[in-house]
């Protein structure tokens, strides 16, 4: 058992090292203008980027494609200036995507969709504030509603790129703290701490959104 455990650990370490090595090579290649490095980055993250953008933009494929395209073209233009010290490749790419998503929200999103979701929330029975701030989970019918998804989506869109990345990695993709730490070039302790701050920011943004929330409404106009 012990040998197996060590074997598993060894493999994990090797995979992790390989991952780091690949990221380092891509980062260096980007700075040198190496086409293969760009293609490597694309292979690694294009689909993940699409999935995360889709999460923030509901079901409109054309808009998702637009934002993904703008993000990747913008990244291609500036990739040679990528600096590893400022964050991982994914953090850098998602920061660009976050700007594109915000731009889209500012230009395209209908105020009526949020207003409807806000009204729906205000009319719900039950301990609404406890579902967000306390320990209780919302009931299944609330969790399955499109309105809640809208509110969560808009709340996420208000957060920083870093908090968006962390929350989606942990709670939508179900990644472990260790994997997230590896992806973001950080330590497990730092990820835990940032996640706690991200949850707090989420709760505050959600509260603002469901209590008249001028900033998000303005953003959607």
């Amino acid at each position: 058992v012990r040998a197996k455990a060590f074997g598993g650990l060894g493999l994990a370490i090797k995979l992790s090292d390989m991952n780091k090595q690949a990221h380092m090579e891509i980062a260096e290649g980007l700075q040198q203008g190496n086409r293969d490095a760009w293609l490597g980055l694309y292979e690694l993250y294009a689909e993940k980027l699409w999935c995360n953008v889709a999460r923030l933009m509901a079901h409109d494929e054309a808009f998702v494609a637009d934002v993904v395209q703008e993000t990747l073209l913008s990244a291609a233009r500036s990739a040679k200036n990528y600096n590893r010290r400022r964050g991982s490749l994914w953090t850098w790419l998602w920061a660009i995507a976050k700007r594109q998503v915000a731009l889209h929200y500012r230009k395209q999103t209908s105020k009526a969709i949020i207003a409807h979701a806000q009204q729906w929330w205000s009319l719900l029975d039950g301990q609404r504030s406890d579902w967000i701030e306390g320990s209780q989970k919302p009931p299944a019918e609330v969790l399955e509603s499109a309105e809640l998804a809208t509110l969560v989506r808009y709340t996420l869109a208000e957060l920083s790129a870093e908090y968006q990345t962390l929350l989606m990695a942990k709670y939508v993709d179900g990644l472990t703290i260790e994997t997230i730490a590896e992806e973001t070039n950080g330590s497990s302790v730092a990820v835990r701490s940032k996640l706690a701050r991200a949850r707090k920011a989420f709760r505050q943004a959600f509260k603002r959104l469901t209590h008249s929330t001028p900033s998000i409404l303005e953003m959607a106009q």
Binding site: L30, G33, R35, W38, L39, Y42, A46, E47, W50, C51, A54, R55, L56, A58, H59, D60, E61, A62, V64, A65, D66, V68, Q69, E70, L72, L73, S74, A75, A76, R77, S78, A79, K80, R99, A102, L103, R106, K107, W131, I132, S135, Q136, K137, P138, L143, E144, L148, A149, V152, R153, L156, L167, M168, K170, Y171, V172, D173, G174, R199, F202
Partner: protein
């Protein structure tokens, strides 16, 4: 233990809340991503080569043109370039002469009912977009290379453009205010030719035979104080195949010219196709004044840390347009402001395109920072004026005599 349980509950609650955005999302479009992969790689390569001064900079310009056309501000400025192209193409027949051979060359132009041609602004090697035109009467159906998704139908009679974005099923009427009267495209050719035939300043030089794109052609250089035109024509049929025009400081190339190509009327319809979402934009081309030009200089400098552009000619704008689009993207302005900015840049561009000053304009702003009150960056002479207008790095303007001009 209590802390762990609380933490677990918190995680479960967040998982259930956030998973609401994870379900029923749009699956990745692999075909789209695959096409985008190649395009983005081209842009990546070009962006790295630009910095090192590689001549393949042009790839970037071509690839990014699609992005430019998606941004309202650059789209409007690009529309101005499109319009500039319209007027340029109209002038290309103004190359008339009294020599018999040259008359043979222009005869097809005079008699043509329709035409198909490509227009390039600036040097062909610079890799700017190619404008494909189909012309019938007063209407032009225009597609720009690498923006093949956008078709513009230009009606010169009503000064109106119908712009169709095929994939998005979006239509926009762009009403052009301030354009000179343009009755009929072919009619205009004839008028210009007749006018120039009477001009004592017009002269033609034979350039002999040459090969262009594998085709043997015979050339003529027609000179006039305001325009210099080179026509290359098929020596057998006398049909023009390529026309290069230097008007003021702007070079335009017209190539792949074909006359009397049968074309369906529906290609030139100004009606919005069924199922298209309609927008309406008014583009005021009046008032491309010195102030408009200066305002454009200010915008272009402010976008790039106060650094004035390397050049202000139309082709320089085309080269800089991708970078301008990128900067505006970062700013994330509301659409209204972007449109206003686009109009300003458009008018700035028109000042140079339809330069009405005497002689040539001079630009020396490359490397100069906005606010530099000592360095002249642009000077020109207004029609009929004795002194020159000199614009400085702080965008102040002074009247300066010829002997005090920058050397």
């Amino acid at each position: 233990m209590k802390f762990n349980k609380k933490k677990q509950q918190e995680d479960e609650k967040f998982s259930s809340l956030l998973s609401t955005v994870g379900s029923k999302t749009v699956a990745p479009d692999r075909e789209f991503l695959s096409k985008l992969k190649a395009e983005s790689a081209k842009i990546f390569e070009a962006s790295t080569q630009n910095e090192s001064g590689d001549s393949r900079e042009t790839i970037n310009i071509i690839s990014i043109w699609r992005t430019i056309m998606k941004s309202p501000v650059t789209k409007i400025a690009a529309t101005v370039v499109v319009i500039a192209g319209v007027l340029t193409a109209m002038h290309f027949a103004g190359l008339s002469t009294t020599t018999v051979t040259f008359a043979d060359v222009i005869k097809p132009i005079l008699n043509a009912q329709t035409a198909v041609l490509d227009i390039i602004i600036g040097d062909e090697e610079a890799g700017g977009p190619v404008i494909h035109d189909q012309i019938k009467g007063p209407r032009i159906r225009r597609i720009m290379s690498n923006v093949e998704d956008v078709v513009s139908i230009i009606d010169l009679e009503t000064s109106r453009i119908l712009s169709l974005t095929i994939s998005k099923k979006e239509a926009a009427y762009i009403d052009l205010k301030g354009l000179p009267s343009m009755p009929n495209y072919m009619e205009r050719f004839r008028n210009v030719i007749n006018m120039l035939q009477d001009s004592p300043h017009f002269e033609v030089e034979e350039l002999g035979e040459q090969e262009i794109d594998g085709q043997k052609v015979v050339g003529f250089l027609a000179r006039h104080p305001k325009v210099e035109i080179t026509i290359w024509a098929d020596p057998e049929t006398a049909l023009p195949v390529r026309i290069e025009q230097m008007e003021g400081q702007m070079k335009t190339i017209c190539k792949n010219v074909k006359f009397d190509v049968p074309m369906d009327e529906s290609l030139f319809s100004m009606d919005v196709p069924d199922g298209y979402k309609l927008q309406q934009v008014e583009l005021d081309l009046m008032g491309s004044t010195e102030e408009d030009f200066i305002e454009g200089l200010r915008i272009r400098a402010e976008l790039f840390d106060g650094q004035f552009p390397d050049g202000v000619a139309v082709e320089d704008y085309l080269k800089q347009a991708p970078a301008i689009a990128g900067k505006l993207e970062e700013l994330g302005l509301p659409e209204e402001q972007e449109t206003e900015l686009g109009m300003k840049l458009g008018r700035h561009l028109l000042f140079i395109r339809f330069f009405k000053g005497q002689g040539q304009w001079h630009y020396a702003g490359s490397g100069v920072k906005l606010g530099d009150s000592d360095t002249p960056i642009f000077w020109y002479r207004q029609e009929g004026a004795e002194t020159y207008r000199v614009i400085y790095g702080d965008l102040s303007v002074k009247d300066v005599s010829a002997e005090d001009l920058p050397k």
